[in-house]
Subunit: 147 residues, 8 copies
Amino acid sequence: MMELTVYLAGEIHSNWREGIRKQAKELKLPLHFTGPMEDHDRSDHIGEEILGPQPNKVAKDEAASSINNLRTQLLIGKADVVIAFFGKEYKQWNSAMDAATAITLQKPVIIIREESLHHALKELSNKAQVVAETPEQALKALAYVFE
Amino acid sequence: MMELTVYLAGEIHSNWREGIRKQAKELKLPLHFTGPMEDHDRSDHIGEEILGPQPNKVAKDEAASSINNLRTQLLIGKADVVIAFFGKEYKQWNSAMDAATAITLQKPVIIIREESLHHALKELSNKAQVVAETPEQALKALAYVFE
Amino acid sequence: MMELTVYLAGEIHSNWREGIRKQAKELKLPLHFTGPMEDHDRSDHIGEEILGPQPNKVAKDEAASSINNLRTQLLIGKADVVIAFFGKEYKQWNSAMDAATAITLQKPVIIIREESLHHALKELSNKAQVVAETPEQALKALAYVFE
Amino acid sequence: MMELTVYLAGEIHSNWREGIRKQAKELKLPLHFTGPMEDHDRSDHIGEEILGPQPNKVAKDEAASSINNLRTQLLIGKADVVIAFFGKEYKQWNSAMDAATAITLQKPVIIIREESLHHALKELSNKAQVVAETPEQALKALAYVFE
Amino acid sequence: MMELTVYLAGEIHSNWREGIRKQAKELKLPLHFTGPMEDHDRSDHIGEEILGPQPNKVAKDEAASSINNLRTQLLIGKADVVIAFFGKEYKQWNSAMDAATAITLQKPVIIIREESLHHALKELSNKAQVVAETPEQALKALAYVFE
Amino acid sequence: MMELTVYLAGEIHSNWREGIRKQAKELKLPLHFTGPMEDHDRSDHIGEEILGPQPNKVAKDEAASSINNLRTQLLIGKADVVIAFFGKEYKQWNSAMDAATAITLQKPVIIIREESLHHALKELSNKAQVVAETPEQALKALAYVFE
Amino acid sequence: MMELTVYLAGEIHSNWREGIRKQAKELKLPLHFTGPMEDHDRSDHIGEEILGPQPNKVAKDEAASSINNLRTQLLIGKADVVIAFFGKEYKQWNSAMDAATAITLQKPVIIIREESLHHALKELSNKAQVVAETPEQALKALAYVFE
Amino acid sequence: MMELTVYLAGEIHSNWREGIRKQAKELKLPLHFTGPMEDHDRSDHIGEEILGPQPNKVAKDEAASSINNLRTQLLIGKADVVIAFFGKEYKQWNSAMDAATAITLQKPVIIIREESLHHALKELSNKAQVVAETPEQALKALAYVFE
């Protein structure tokens, strides 16, 4: 049976991914999930952890993002579809970057955001394939592919 | 002589584009600039202005963004290079979207942001070709191409 | 042994897909079939079912088509070949869209139509790889690939 | 100044193209228009006219469509944007084909149709960049790109 | 272990493919071979066999080639590498077509021809990755990939 | 006004190109023609002429074809459409290569051959956009694009 | 579980690959390694070994490189990521070629070099995704993808 | 008349480019030349010159190469053909990178090197379209395109 690989882009401060993974299991959907490093501290320090001390904060960030982007490029490259969650806090510029990258690579993107965020997201939403308000809706859209 | 078309992505609340255009003129660089609608109100209302009244706010946003994205897709498609400016205010998700879209299309991107914003922008900066702090630096980088 | 994935585009009012699936089984061909939602009502209502009530009919259609196109994009993306059936009734614009999309993605398309429809389909037929009159002919063409 | 080439896909039985061309002239927009052969008879007979008599009606259609598609492939290939008009009559499968081809080639498409046709066009509309009701709206959307 | 799929393009009048298949088996190389219909008569008549009688010889050829090209497009699309054999007889224009198609798709091509044919093949040979004189040499080149 | 660049692939022993160029001039069509080196001897010796003596005939051919293919790659890359003429004599494998290369690059190809050659050319003809019998027909097909 | 195929480009005079393979085994990472022929002599003589004696040294090199590049093209084509090691000795132009090829194909590249070599490698490093000093660091970056 | 843009990649320590430019002028060839910054010091310091002081030598190199690669990406992107010169001194890894990048982008590359360097360049030479010993030969190959 056909399987789909789903990259779960977006914030790593709430446990929205857990809900999606659990529900997919309950529905026995043939979905394989990947995503960014969810341990925020580890994500920030991974550059120095692997490549050693860097001379300043910008260089430390550059080292970390070179490793994080290696991960993202490999995993989005293997994904069939990307779900991108936008919350109320933080800049979330890399979530927007991941979504736009996938769209430009012609991979379908499902955006999850509460309606109050829609105005700021309107151009990205217009390019996404589906715009949902909850993780449950995003999963239902994927379940529909297998019916 | 070779000309370059430069799309100026990013916020439309300050006049950072003016500085770049003026400096390019003074240096007589063969640069042709394009960018988003800079009248913020017009950008928000363009959907209803052209397509007529929409049933609610989300639909109004969708109508506006369909026109705004038509403009962006055409102009980024014709651009040789994108300069993306990130300021301290607002979500600026469509700036991140424009930058990531250009990068994925293999067009070089120059990001302008003050250093305090670097951490939130680190993954996008790592994918950009040049990361600058001021519009002047971005223009100097382009001037170097013609030397 | 090599398997081929076949997307069965086209009308969902007759049971033409059943004949193809059955015949492939009898011939033990290594074909895996996918296609659109065949329950017409469900296809029309899937937007509101997943995303909730919409403000008018156009918005309801837009919600439904965003989910239907998610399905189609994923399944045509994974297909090796597309069979597109055109009947006498209905506009069938999404059948023409699916066929043209696959052709532009350089995936071979087999069109099935009765000869009386050929004139209206002549430009699409010219771009398709094979033009057949019956589902049996389309399946025979695929069987030939495995001989 | 930047110019845009616009392919006007769609029916050749009404004079909707004339209105667009005239309005563009009045507004002095730097648009260059192309489109299919608008003389319906000539379009149907062009195969035999150039390549000589064909043995039956299907072969005559095939000869004509090989020439018509040569024209369309060259002109859509050179177009920056496609406007596709759908009317109430006829199958218009090649209009749907032209629109889907342009979308898949990542060229923006503006669809014009009256609202009563929306349901049958909903999947194609969802993939188009702008959906308008009149040629005037489509032209205004292009005019906005130059503001 | 990695497997390679090899499309064996070229003439179907001698049994050069048999030698390659047998030698690959003896060396236990993880190669999977595909190729055109090797029964020449069947290849010529497959159009009418599947699609019914055609009005003249050109139309019969067109029907046959539409089915043969369906097969070739699918199989070259799935191939990792193409071996193209050129003999002394016949025009072999579809062998040259298959080789050039694969090269343009960035798939490596190994050409087999005896040296006396080199002059006529010089431009195609220059674009191929390897030029050999015997099927054994072509197979050795593939065996080297697995060492 | 739009111009089209036409690469004239195929044999260099008859003057079929002259007829096309002359007719295009008479009809004042905005066509720009390119093609291979038409001096056969020069084409064969160009490798040694530029790169110096080669150790044997195969190496001489390889040197010549590296220069000829440089020319062809540049000119087909800039062409909008390719006309490929096949005559009765010679292997003409590089004509088939040029046609297949253009088709795979999604450039339309017009084949000219007399009907007696159709059988050997049937697979290539099926992939071409137009199949004509005379240079005049090929030019008429291009003239139709400008009507 | 997802597996990654890693092409190990670079010098074949030290045993840096062995360390990577061993460490991956110890960490039970789902990595599959490929790379160039590591027997330097065999790599230099493979052209004559397979294709027979060549008329001079340049022709011998050309024969060998045609086989070596067949291997590289197939293996980099199947790789998800490339690790490229640069040492102090030799020109290593094909290592730079392999890295640049992978980057242009949008495959992520990890460069390993000691810091003293950075200046000469600065442009290539800027295009790579990760720049490391030791094979251990490169492997840790890949391990991070699976966390 | 058709013009070609030629990127002159390779070492900036000798004046090989001058000879090519002068000869092209004498022959009145419609060639437009671009290339890297030829002032070696400026190329090394351009990062700090534009972006300000960097914390260490690697960071200084990274800043410089981000500007140099911006230039190279824009100019190779606009080039029709790349001439890459390899001399006896220095690592010249970015020359190999430029050549491999152009080849992977399907742009033809002409390599110039003296024969003693051929062995180290054999894999890159095999992927190039023409391999010459002198700038004069490279220019003659381009002149042939216009005959």
